[in-house]
Symmetry: C2
Subunit: 173 residues, 2 copies
Amino acid sequence: MPLRSDYDGQNCSLARSLEVVGERWTLLILRDLFFGVRRFTDLQAHLDIPRAVLSGRLAALVEEGIVERRPYRPGRDELLLTERGVELWHVVFRLIQWGDRHYGAEGGPLRVFTHAACGTALGESGRCSTCAIEPPPDDVEMHPGPGVPAVRRDDAVSRALRGPHRLLTPLAG
Amino acid sequence: MPLRSDYDGQNCSLARSLEVVGERWTLLILRDLFFGVRRFTDLQAHLDIPRAVLSGRLAALVEEGIVERRPYRPGRDELLLTERGVELWHVVFRLIQWGDRHYGAEGGPLRVFTHAACGTALGESGRCSTCAIEPPPDDVEMHPGPGVPAVRRDDAVSRALRGPHRLLTPLAG
């Protein structure tokens, strides 16, 4: 049997999911869209990613129905997560939690997530222990955590995220 | 500022996590280790992955403390998830759920997961609604679901997974 270099031999839906979101950079792009970034130039500056790579990844995400483009003024589109895209929140959230635990700053997490409706910090599972629910991302607020580095990045997105910010709402500025 | 082609500019722990688990194939390897696959040759046959690629990915996972090698007889090692690796269960589980929803077989999921202690099927969040807990993977049982294809794969791992199987326990055969 010939060896394959792709996932064709895998009938698991995880394999198919990874074809879609398992590309280098893709989950970071999704993370930024959850944070409220909506413009190509902001994504590019915040992720510090080559323009062609970002373009290609976004085209694939649009093709897969995970991201949609919506005109916000003539000739200019903004980028939004679709419902299918929003459903990936827990994958992104769990990876952030795992990363904080094993690769985070010594002072603690870079970002803390709370249930916007009641202010309770979300547990590692993404649940609000006060309300006993798993709030959807548009009911989650992100706050700078104790692990914020002393030397801060100075792009527009990093500046806008220095205060509390509700996920999926557009960034100020 | 020069454009970067890697994640160095990202001080988010998600970026670091993706350096570790975001490589093509890596989450599929982790999935198989959760399923109880412990031998290189079984992984290779089940994933249908080039030997050199599998070798490289495993070496990186061992290096990162996610997988450990343990001799099971002279000159032979088996592969096990470490505690750090086991913590990735929810990332894998959520991606499987998302994939089933959007790319799954028409008949339903390929695999169904239950809480081994009580038999309740886990919800999409990975919680057991009967016990109101999120069971760890060694307390989760996997069953063939309605989406199992008529034409089945015939490697040793696929055969061993035709019946119920508790995660993280070695496969029969």
